[in-house]
């Protein structure tokens, strides 16, 4: 049997995501959001999800639809502020104690995910040392500088947006679409990618940005 990771629809691709799953979602700065997959996940109406996503509130991401649908118990992110003075759905749930929030410096967030995929259970970082954000975290001095101990992040599922995929799951990314996708794909038990186009022919070795061995399922995005 030839390897072929293509799946017919976003709904089929997320059909086995269960209550209580930890889900990573790519996207940052307006690019690389796995929105087709997020909407398919919303339609599954599972409960108690933990989301690992850079921003809980980015207006171009549909992450907020999962939160508004009451599917999310916890968010691990680097940005959780809604625009405007009013409270976002996320902020209201957080204020009411109905959603747990872990905020990390964006570099720590990225490195925790990279560590999760790289078999590193914990590492020391200078980011956030001496701030409220790392209060209570273990610290240690190396070479005259102070660092915070941070533990890896892993997930049951990663939803990742790319540009082109081949049947092996190899992927390319367009420009800033890359952001958290490659690292998230390494840190999840099940990685589902949505792309603009899939091709039978293998992507040339020197153009592959994420090896297909990290990708389990691929769908063509409908252009949400």
């Amino acid at each position: 049997m030839a390897i072929d990771k293509r799946v017919g629809s976003a709904a089929a691709a997320v059909s086995d995501v269960r209550d209580g799953a930890t889900v990573m979602i790519s996207g940052f700065g307006g690019a690389g959001f796995a929105n087709d997959l997020v909407l398919a996940l919303r339609d599954r109406a599972v409960r108690g999800l933990t989301l690992i996503v850079n921003s809980a509130t980015h207006p171009l991401s549909f992450t907020h639809t999962l939160i508004e649908a009451g599917m999310v118990a916890k968010v691990i992110c680097s940005a959780a502020r809604g625009r405007g003075k009013g409270l976002s759905a996320f902020e209201q749930l957080w204020k009411d104690g109905k959603i747990e929030l872990v905020a990390l410096p964006q570099g720590t967030f990225a490195e925790c995910i990279r560590a999760g995929g790289a078999g590193i259970p914990a590492f020391y970082t200078p980011s956030g040392y001496g701030t409220d954000l790392t209060l209570g975290k273990e610290t240690r001095r190396f070479g005259g500088r102070d660092y915070v101990l941070e533990e890896a992040l892993v997930a049951d599922v990663a939803l990742v947006r790319g540009d082109v995929a081949d049947r092996f799951g190899n992927m390319t990314f367009r420009y800033a679409q890359k952001n958290f996708g490659p690292a998230m794909a390494t840190a999840a038990k099940l990685t589902i990618a949505e792309v603009r186009a899939v091709q039978d022919a293998p992507i040339a070795p020197e153009l592959v940005e994420l090896p297909g061995v990290y990708v389990n399922r691929v769908i063509v995005a409908g252009g949400v």
């Binding site: 940052f28 700065g29 307006g30 690019a31 690389g32 850079n54 809980a56 509130t57 980015h58 171009l60 680097s78 940005a79 959780a80 502020r81 809604g82 003075k85 409270l87 976002s88 996320f90 902020e91 957080w94 204020k95 929030l101 905020a103 990390l104 410096p105 964006q106 570099g107 720590t108 990225a110 490195e111 995910i113 990279r114 970082t125 200078p126 980011s127 956030g128 040392y129 001496g130 701030t131 409220d132 954000l133 540009d163 990314f173 367009r174 420009y175 800033a176 679409q177 890359k178 952001n179 958290f180 996708g181 490659p182 690292a183 940005e209």
Partner: protein, 227 residues
């Protein structure tokens, strides 16, 4: 010419850029610095979403939804630029490879403490982003800010009142009325606008000021502020 507007502050900070430097420009005022790099210099701009060698904003007809900076602005890639993923981008930042990061701030203390991430609006979620990584690990942290709050309070303080982004990191501050170095001995004024006396500057500042021997006049060309 008087008080500098936000684009003039960006212009002033950009005058201190040097050839070949790697610089990260924070959201808001700092990103404007890239419009004012001196002619003949090649500066490599990093956006923490992974663009290494970012060019100017994209013209409307060339705008690409996948080519955005950390602030979701549609931008371009400069000659020699490339894009890396976020894990690598922050490895670059945390690894001390950024020569200068120019950041906005709410407050800066005389020991270099920076507060720029949490303005303590009740019930609004935290907005950390990449500021802590940049502040902790860039070779130099420059701050661009209004010298005072809207109500006239000091932003340059003995100690920050807002939560810190990183302790002891700020090297230089560009405000609408002065350029100030942060030294072991506290704030040292490098330049101040003509209309503000040394005494007045001190009165508007919440920590003792020294004045550099070569303390000069802060001037900027006419530049319309952004609306």
């Amino acid at each position: 010419m008087g008080v500098l507007n936000r684009r003039q502050i960006a212009w002033r900070a950009a005058q201190d850029f040097w050839d070949g430097m790697l610089v990260n420009l924070g959201l808001g005022m700092p990103v404007n610095c890239s419009d004012y790099v001196r002619a003949g210099l090649e500066v490599v701009v990093q956006s923490e979403n992974g663009i290494i060698g970012m060019g100017p904003l994209a013209a409307a007809e060339a705008a690409d939804a996948d080519l955005v900076d950390a602030g979701s602005r549609r931008v371009t890639i400069a000659p020699g630029g490339t894009v890396i993923d976020s894990a690598w981008s922050f490895a670059m930042i945390r690894g001390g490879h950024i020569d200068v990061t120019v950041l906005g701030a709410f407050e800066v203390a005389a020991n270099g403490d920076l507060a720029n991430w949490d303005s303590r609006i009740p019930d609004k979620g935290p907005l950390v982003g990449g500021a802590m990584d940049l502040a902790a690990s860039a070779k130099a942290v420059w701050v661009m800010m209004e010298h005072n709050t809207r109500s006239g309070g000091a932003r340059l303080l003995e100690a920050c009142t807002l939560p810190l982004t990183a302790p002891g990191c700020v090297k230089r501050i560009y405000t609408d009325i002065a350029v100030i170095e942060v030294t072991q001995a506290g704030f040292v004024v490098l330049e101040v606008i003509e209309e503000v006396s040394r005494a007045a500057l001190q009165a508007r500042t919440g920590a003792p000021l020294r004045f550099a021997a070569a303390c000069g006049v802060l001037r900027a060309p006419d530049i319309a502020d952004e609306e």
